[in-house]
């Protein structure tokens, strides 16, 4: 009961906190000066059509490096917490508890028949869609400087392709060695491209050491497509690794 009262108080506090923001809220009437500056410089100095990408990769590139680091730390945490073999002292999940097959956790006491693998529809659809999704992910991260999208979005789409492939063939094992190598290589390439900007251009992660080219062409915007592509590869392999670790937990 006391918990319920605390919950009511905290939620009411949050609502009260947001009321002045919501009541007095009106959208901005003109583009802020900083944003206008970013848009002009994105076009003239970087040659990047997508200003959001220019902000993410260049103007606030250090933030993005930090973000990739946080993602890496979280992935490492997932790998650390989930061990491949069940440790001593861990109990099987009790029948009738809140844990069931929907929670994705194996329940050895339940007598429900284990699924006999995916149906024909799932297998065919995943075999058909998985390569297309993969290609679409690559398209998204290579065109990050031109269209909405970029490394993070493309990486997530690639992960979706991998998940679909796992649905279609649950026994398939991912090539962990290759994925770890690819992830480390792309992470290192990201930092090397940043250092190249430091040596050849204005500063760390400055992409202008490659020619800006003409606006709206695939090979343009200096090193931005390169940087976003390695980010895409890194995010894709990392998240696919997370999904596979959570799956390995179920399999053992």
């Amino acid at each position: 009961m006391a918990n319920r009262i605390v919950a009511v108080l905290v939620t009411a506090g949050i609502i009260v906190m947001f009321v002045p923001l919501v009541v007095g809220f009106s959208f901005q009437e003109r583009t802020p000066d900083l944003a206008a500056e970013y848009i002009v410089r994105s076009e003239q100095e970087l040659g990047a059509a997508n200003t959001v990408t220019a902000v993410v990769v260049t103007f606030r590139g250090l933030d993005t490096l930090g973000e990739v680091t946080v993602l890496f730390a979280a992935t490492a945490g997932v790998g650390f917490v989930i061990t491949r073999r069940r440790g001593a002292g861990e109990l099987p999940v009790r029948e009738g508890s809140a844990v069931d097959a929907h929670a994705g956790i194996e329940n050895p006491d339940a007598h429900a028949p284990r699924s006999q693998g995916p149906s024909e529809i799932v297998r065919t659809a995943s075999r058909f869609l998985s390569p297309i999704l993969f290609l679409f992910g690559v398209y998204i991260f290579t065109h990050g400087h031109l269209t909405p999208g970029g490394g993070f979005q493309g990486g997530v789409v690639i992960t979706a392709a991998v998940v679909l492939g796992i649905f279609g063939n649950p026994d398939r094992r991912l090539a962990h060695g290759t994925m770890t190598t690819l992830e480390s290589l792309s992470g290192a390439t990201y930092v090397i491209l940043g250092v190249l900007g430091f040596i050849l251009a204005g500063g760390f992660l400055d992409p202008t050491f490659l020619p800006a080219g003409s606006l709206g062409v695939l090979v343009s915007a200096g090193a931005i497509p390169l940087i976003y592509s390695v980010v895409g590869i890194k995010v894709g392999t990392e998240l696919a690794g997370v999904v596979d670790r959570l799956r390995a937990q179920e399999r053992d």
């Binding site: 939620t11 919501v22 809220f25 583009t31 200003t51 993410v56 670790r245």
Partner: protein, 114 residues
């Protein structure tokens, strides 16, 4: 008053309520996810400019085009990815705890209760 920030704030309140009242750890993670979504909506709506276009420069852009602020969009992009990573980490802890004790009920974990 605009609807989008109101919906964002409402989602934050709903998520907080869910995290505080639910006893199932998976549902608490879902509550966190809802808070996350509400925060994203709020940040994006702060960056919106009335009548603004997406800040992507192509042939359709005229001299008089007003753009929305790209900085909050970039921040939300970061926040979504971090939210995803944190959610994955929390789910991993949930899986691990459920393995150890065999239940998702958070009230049965009393070791660090004060």
């Amino acid at each position: 008053m605009q609807y989008i920030p109101a919906i964002g704030s409402l989602l934050i309140a709903i998520g907080a309520w869910g995290m505080l009242t639910q006893r199932n750890m998976l549902k608490m993670v879902i509550g966190f996810s809802i808070i996350d979504t509400g925060a994203h909506l709020l940040i994006v709506s702060i960056g919106y400019v009335t009548g603004g276009a997406a800040p992507i420069l192509d042939a359709a852009v005229a001299e008089s085009t007003v753009f929305v602020d790209p900085v909050p969009s970039a921040l939300v992009l970061t926040a979504i990815v971090i939210g995803l990573a944190v959610t994955a980490l929390m789910l991993t802890y949930v899986v691990r705890l459920a393995r150890t004790k065999g239940t998702l009920e958070v009230s049965s974990y009393k070791e660090l209760k004060w």
